[in-house]
């Protein structure tokens, strides 16, 4: 149930992103600048704490509503580690560890990357490397997930505890390789309860990217519809041509599907990681992202393909985010294996119970 606190948080976020993620801010971020001032303002509003329970310093908003912030940030193409900081804070709070002050991220994000956590005296040592860590270079700390004796643990690593090799996604957002070889105090490492492990971490990450994609697709639909209503060719606006109307209707369908898929994933996370809706959301939003970007560029014509037009801030993120926390190849296979295990006569019951 959406509470007053939730509503206030959503309203605040909507105003914040509309005011602060200006074309100028997006161009600064594109040029490689870290928007420290905009992040500080987001931090002041408490947005990064949205997933943290009240007793750990959050505001105790409903998890589905808190995850909804990422959709709003996605619609704004916000070049900020909001999802990552929310995720790191949630994980640290779950493990009962102190939160990171400032922008944060999580590692590892790739299923094949493993970090070694070993005992060292009364403390620990973390070694290994993690690729494609979102916003690694600007993070004040990383929440690392690693197993020790088969038990998933979370470790809080403060900046200075890793070396960075810069890399970026198609939207130019930092996706860095971090190398760890660091001694950790006992107080910065703890086992994670509630069965949360690396798989669960990637599932929440996939849900967050699904929500961001859904928000960005909605915004792409709005921009493209607006453009079609303004641009005149052959003596009428583009939107008066049936061919364009039919294309925009397809885009609207993809936006609806992505939105519903992402909503279902957020609920599935809040209700204890039901895997199918999460997997379905990532693949459905990923598929919608490609179709949406293609139609948006076709309708915008050459101007939409330029650096100066704002469309690419969204479309490059659509192409980037659909790959992160598992692309369609990863999640489709997971769903397919579930279905094969359920068998032909178990397919429909699997769908209704998902």
């Amino acid at each position: 149930m959406t509470s007053d606190t939730s509503r206030i948080l959503v309203d605040t976020a909507q105003r914040f992103f509309a005011d602060r993620i200006t074309p100028e801010a997006l161009h600064r971020a594109d040029a490689g600048e870290w928007l420290a001032d905009v992040w500080a303002a987001a931090d002041d509003l408490g947005l990064p704490l949205a997933l943290v329970p009240e007793e750990a310093g959050g505001f105790g908003v409903d998890m589905v509503d808190a995850l909804g912030l990422i959709r709003i940030a996605g619609a704004a193409a916000a070049p900020l580690p909001l999802a990552e900081t929310m995720l790191a804070s949630w994980l640290l709070a779950k493990a009962g560890l102190e939160l990171i002050a400032g922008p944060a991220s999580v590692a590892p994000v790739l299923a094949d990357d493993r970090l070694e956590l070993t005992r060292e005296g009364r403390g620990w040592r973390l070694t290994g490397s993690a690729q494609r860590v979102p916003w690694g270079r600007v993070a004040a700390g990383i929440a690392v997930m690693a197993e020790h004796d088969g038990v998933p643990h979370v470790a809080r690593i403060d900046a200075g505890g890793w070396t960075t090799e810069n890399a970026a996604n198609l939207a130019g957002e930092p996706r860095d390789t971090l190398r760890f070889d660091v001694r950790l105090d006992a107080a910065t490492v703890a086992p994670v309860p509630d069965g949360i492990d690396g798989t669960a971490l990637r599932a929440v990450g996939a849900t967050m990217r699904s929500l961001a994609l859904a928000g960005a697709i909605d915004r792409v639909l709005a921009l493209t519809t607006h453009y079609a209503g303004e641009r005149v060719q052959f003596g009428r606006t583009l939107g008066k041509f049936q061919a364009i109307q039919q294309s925009l209707a397809v885009l609207a369908g993809q936006a609806a599907a992505a939105g519903a898929a992402a909503d279902a994933a957020a609920e599935a996370v809040a209700e204890g990681f039901r895997p199918l809706p999460i997997a379905a959301a990532k693949v459905r939003c990923g598929e919608a992202a490609g179709i949406a970007a293609s139609i948006a560029h076709q309708v915008h014509g050459a101007i939409g393909f330029t650096q100066e037009h704002s469309l690419h801030h969204l479309t490059r993120r659509l192409w980037a985010w659909r790959e992160e926390f598992g692309n369609e190849a990863v999640w489709n296979r997971i769903i397919g294996r579930h279905v094969a295990a359920a068998g032909a006569d178990g397919l429909w019951p699997l769908v209704t119970a998902a």
Partner: protein, 386 residues
Amino acid sequence: MHSIVFPPPPVTARTEALRAEVRDFLKTELADRPPRLRADSWNGFDAGFSRKMGERGWIGMTWPKRYGGHERSALERYVVLEEVLAAGAPVAAHWIADRQSGPLLLKNGTEEQRQSILPRIAAGDCTFCIGMSEPDSGSDLAAVRTRAVPVQGVGGGGWRVNGTKLWTTYAHHAHYMILFCRTDGGTEDRQGGTSQFLVDLKTPGITIRPVLDMTGAHHFNEVVFEDALLPDDALIGQRGEGWAQVMGELAYERSGPERFLSSMTLLTELVRALGDAPSDHAAMAVGRLTAHLLVLRRLSRSVAGMLENGGNPALQAALVKDLGALFEQEIPEIARQLVEAEPDLQATREFSAVLAKLVMNAPSFSLRGGTREILRGIIARGLGLR
């Protein structure tokens, strides 16, 4: 422009007992129904099955008890619908009446029409067909030329009907038709001057001729009216309000589980054919289809929730139907790339027969109930482009 909102579907935990009850019933009733017949989906006709559905109280579920209904929620009805459709049960004998004609009579019919017809529908004893399309009026419904003219007769007033209806599904088994035709003005008046009538198909002057589809099956008919006389009280709702009444019907017709489950039998048989250790490629293809199915079901249930709350989700319904038809149509194209089996209606192998049926029926999925182009036009209007 506002984004098109699909609210979260209502929570349905309390409907799960009903779901189990329906599954038990279907397991027994459909035990001998092979996949190739289940693949007929809502075109499968079995009057005996429909009567059993009526006995269970699963027709007219949401209608008032005084008309034979059961006063259950739209969500309980949704559960029954999706279960029977997913199982490929033969629902055609009651389907149109339950989904469309009954609700129309409930909303716009006379008290006498309601009392005489609705209890029979709810009992699974009364089959309806819909007389909308004509030879020269397909997507352009407002171009209908069939005309009902008021007449004075011996026993009082009435209507004389002349014209031809086409693509009338199961007219040859139906007891009644809901006729959409012109009562005033001409085709130049477009939507104006149209009305709806309750037509007893035993009325003299009505000829029903089969129109076989390309699989050789007989679902469609041509229904010709030649001076057919209808009683005065055959009029449904208001004279001249036919268009508005029909549009109200269509929101119900476009968003239900029938709009994405038409190929469910093939998807099920595909999973069976691939076995418990499919290749990565096959697992990914089935995974993708399952993801689409989950999302379509959520969208459709969201619309059901809006209808339950008295909303008018005509735009959302058009979106669900457009996406659903794409999904239903791509299943045969994907299935044939994963399994080496030639589609053949006569094949002994069920997969081949089911595939054949779906390959050949798929074109109709984006035609019936509003073509893809009409739906996208509605969506474009919702976006403010028209």
